[in-house]
């Protein structure tokens, strides 16, 4: 049976069509979910894609968190439903309290749009099946607020429980402990700053994003 993956579109989201296209290429039935919807149309997994939801007004993710669809995403995630937040989607998930920490402005105050080398730090989460701890992936980043920060206690807990999913090999933005992605305690919610959907074809310079999105399609 084809897995149905819902890709949430807020006003200001701009990576939703790339994400739908990448997931569909990999065999999913990918469909857009509107931020004003109150339910998830019965999808098997949810992806919150990149962009500038609600213009990133106040803070990235601060307004998106109150969009009607987020109540449904919250309930879905709390029930163990698989959720992936990419870039702005990661920011939305931290603001919504589904992932710990926050993303602040890049240390160098530059908008970063470049290929990035990442190391898989843990596979103990819903997207870990196709990955191996310690392996390197090449995925693009595209953000101004990707500098991951959290309290000392949270950082200790994340590290002790293997909840850091991806790390930058050469930290581009000042993220604490080179963190590029984290998961929640149950492992069913993952957020990452790199864009796997932009690394799904040789023409794009890397196909490493498939390693992550194929698992979205299979696990969903």
């Amino acid at each position: 049976m084809t897995r149905r993956v819902g890709v949430v579109r807020f006003p200001g989201t701009n990576c939703e069509l790339d994400t739908v296209d990448a997931l569909a290429t990999l065999g999913a039935q990918a469909e857009l979910l509107w931020h004003g919807d109150h339910d998830l149309q019965g999808v098997d997994a949810v992806v919150i894609p990149g962009g500038f939801a609600h213009g990133d007004y106040l803070r990235p993710g601060a307004i998106a968190r109150f969009s009607p669809v987020m109540a449904a995403v919250n309930a879905f995630a709390r029930d163990g439903g698989p959720v992936l937040g990419i870039c702005n989607g990661f920011q939305v998930l931290t603001e919504a309290g589904l992932l710990p920490g926050a993303l602040q402005k890049n240390q160098g105050l530059k908008f970063l749009c470049q290929p990035q080398e990442l190391e898989v730090a843990s596979t103990d989460h819903w997207l870990g099946a196709g990955l191996q701890t310690g392996e390197r992936l090449h995925l693009p980043i595209n953000h101004f607020e990707g500098n991951y920060v959290c309290s000392g206690a949270t950082l200790e807990e994340l590290e002790a429980s293997g909840r850091v999913v991806l790390r930058y090999v050469n930290n581009p933005n000042g993220s604490v402990n080179d963190i590029a992605g984290v998961t929640n305690a149950a492992g069913n919610v993952v957020g990452m700053m790199p864009h796997p959907e932009r690394a799904t074809h040789e023409l794009l310079g890397s196909v490493d994003g498939r390693r992550i999105l194929e698992t979205v399609v299979q696990t969903a």
């Binding site: 920490g101 602040q104 402005k105 105050l109 920060v149």
Partner: protein, 84 residues
Amino acid sequence: MKWQVLVEVSPRSGIGDPEGATIERSLPALGFDGVTGVRVGKAIRLVVDAPDAAAATSLVEDMCARFLTNPVIEDARVEVGQLD
């Protein structure tokens, strides 16, 4: 009663403030030497309806905790005054 409120949002102490640091580094180029402690935040002005100043403060502090700031990275200072 209407109250004029100013919320000053600033990066929490211990949280890096790249904007503040950049401004601080740039000031000497214009001859402003010896400036330290530059922090960049934002100001939010609003008018609220509350029976007294304490109630207005507590209302806005609640807004700060739940929406106006992200307590992981930001602090808020709430200033309440009578609306002119």
